[in-house]
């Protein structure tokens, strides 16, 4: 599939078409979570850090982050959703860009050496403002955008092999066709996703106690049989 075909496909698709990560199709594909399946166990964070930094436990270094937010608390996995227009890349002030897209593999890559660090932070700022906020820094040791590269190089032939998807016990992560912008659920901030989940899984979970026992109109069995 050529780049032109992808552009055509981007326009034609109206919603994300998803495939199981275990049998991904050829061509451009991006990793995205089905938020409704997540149980918040954070194993994706565990394996993400392990893949990128070896035997280290520190969720701050993870490219995927689990938010426990309300209503709920619901667990919402947030990672780079590979927006088609890449506002983060555009925001990068360095030339050539520190953040760039590997057009062959369709993964976002970071040139760690040349990055200006968290003091610049334009990419993270832009992502937070426009999309899900999936970029963060971990100064001083890792002072560059920590952002999902789909574990590029982890596969047997050096291809991307996302460890979060491979090791998720609940099958949260799927491949989907590239599509960006406002209509795309995966690029939403976690608060909006939580709200969307709440609406889709009606009756809505809002308050722990909908009514106190003294607010409920109890109908006793005796009265019911009388009627």
């Amino acid at each position: 599939m050529s780049q032109k075909d992808i552009e055509v496909e981007k326009e034609e698709r109206t919603g994300p078409i998803t495939w199981d990560v275990r049998s991904p199709p050829a061509g451009p594909k991006y990793l995205n979570p089905d938020h409704s399946l997540c149980r918040g166990c954070r194993l994706c964070e565990y394996y993400c850090v392990k893949q990128h930094y070896g035997n280290v436990i520190n969720p701050e270094l993870s490219r995927v982050k689990i938010y426990h937010i309300y209503p709920g608390p619901m667990a919402i996995p947030i990672q780079c959703s590979n927006c088609a227009d890449y506002p983060c890349v555009e925001a990068c002030p360095v030339e050539p860009k520190v953040l760039y897209v590997d057009k062959k593999k369709f993964v976002l890559k970071v040139d760690e050496e040349r990055c200006l660090g968290y003091k610049c932070g334009k990419c993270a700022e832009t992502c937070k403002k426009l999309r899900s906020g999936a970029i963060h820094f971990y100064p001083p040791e890792h002072d560059y955008p920590i952002v999902c590269d789909q574990c590029d190089g982890a596969g047997t032939n050096g291809e991307p092999d996302p460890q979060c998807a491979k090791n998720c016990p609940f099958g949260v992560f799927f491949y989907s066709t590239p599509k960006g912008g406002e209509g795309w659920r995966h690029a939403w901030p976690p608060e909006r996703i939580a709200k969307d989940l709440e609406e889709r899984f009606k009756p809505a979970i809002k308050e722990r106690l909908a009514k106190t026992p003294y607010e409920i109109e109890w109908v006793s069995e005796k009265e019911e049989t009388k009627k």
Binding site: R42, N55, I57, N58, K206, R208, L209, P213
Partner: protein, 604 residues
Amino acid sequence: MIGGYAGKHLEVNLTDGSFKNVSLDEWAAKTFIGGQGYANWLLWKMTESGINPLGPDNLLIVSTGPITGLAGGTDRGDATFKSPLTNLWGNSQFGGFWCSELKFAGYDGIILRGRAENPVYLSVKDDDAEIMDARHIWGKGVAKTDQIIKEEMRDPFVKVLCIGPAGENLCGEASIVQNAQHYAARTGGGAVMGSKKVKAIVVRGTKGMPPLADPDECFRISEIDVKTKWSERSMHTRMYRWLKFGPQASHVERADHGIGIFKNFDEGDHPDVPLLGGPRQLRMNRVRDDSCTYCPVGCIHTSLVRSGPMKGSYAAPKWDSTANIAQQTIMFDMNGMIYCNAICNDLGMDAEGVGNTVAWAMECYEKGILSKEDLDGLDLTWGDVEAEAKIIWKISNREGVGNLLADGFKHFLPKVGKGSEDFAMQSKGCGLGGYQPYAWHTFGMPYRWGVCYSVNDIGGHHNTASESGYWSNSLTYCTFATGLTDKMKLDLLNAATGYDLKYPEDWNNYGRRFMMFARTYNIREGYGGIMPPSEADVLPKKAFKKFTYGTAKGEQMTIEDWLKGRLQWYEDHGCDERGIPTKDTLRNLKLEFTISELEKANVW
């Protein structure tokens, strides 16, 4: 420094608002490991004997273990304090995300001392600790509190450990809550926190896991844990049932074994029990599941009442809470069970303990010991959802009769009297768990449940009277969702810390040490005013009844059986017939330092 430990506890004096770092004692870390064991040592060392549990001298120690944050099921915290419910050693565990976050912030635990003047919450962000004003969240339910604090901190990754209105009202059975769904419920930790006027402890840690002795080995073992839990291997275990149906699946099984606790422990079996079963809950009420850090089991089954008057409330009921709240009061109403759990959850109440209290009150009402006027006009008949919900609400908020019942069995039984203590299913003031006392222990212990209930150091709890239980709480590792065998847990500890502990001898010795140390603490505290221990290690009369119905028909534990079992337990654990550990036992278990204090108390 030993691997796995963050190396310091944060001591907060709320009276003057000062902070102090208490560095890890290497001898104690090697002797008591962490979590429950280490916290108990701190409690022993840092408090005087005979303090008031709700006074400023009491400590609330929330601590983690050396392997916390390392594998699935290790994100367990331990709350240790002197219990207002039993006046003895108070202890409870919780899961969630808080404990690993605390470790990543660079602390092994937090020690709360003193009492704040106005409601406060404590915020710990790596090395910065701060006491914040909490007057605006005082009185709010736990879910609301959690939400408000997360919004106020402007950080979605902070982890909140808080109490609900029950803790603020100093109810004897108030719980401490993490992420609004993980509860350290037993023995009234919430009341201790409430007495210190601390609404919440908020933690954010970014430092990552402290250095480990052998990281490769740690990762190898923790991956075995993960893969066992989410593969077919888990199907061979009890865990699978939890994973699929939740703890409610145990209702039918327990009834089939004749060890249910129906009608305030009257019967071991009941024909209507499938109405409370796991598959029914899955279809009727389940919304989604939740996990703790790195654990793929997801045993927290959030369930919603979808119809009827209680519509819209939700809870994540667990086994013991549903056993005591539904089985014990024979409320065969799935929605009612979830609603009553939701009240307990949101108000921060121990559903297990309050279920015991309600069942006792129902039996009192049936026998005429408590009249309708005594109960503020509530028609507290068996299985009445409305009455049960209302009385739980009253107890948690200390309204009317609830003010009396909120203190716990030990405090209200002498006031009610009239023979009601014969069917108050408690030991040392703490309500019994969800198993009939006559039944034999199901987790490989050669004692009856009744023996375990009575000798237990925190009272009638069901789970901690074994070496494995104490080990789990000290490591800290989940008691239920375990992908590792006991030996592998010890291997993981060795890999993390560089210790050289052997299975099974060290496992048994250390477990015995933790257990006897808790008992020693209780003896130092005068066993809640009843000495020797054998006079407090008792069960109510009803525990010795003969069963007449269903699978439990003909079963009975006579007083002689029970006494024999208890004596056996004392002997097995190196205690004399009065339940006091001998000096030799204490010396063998490296607990010599306790001997002088016990001699002062004149126990031998």
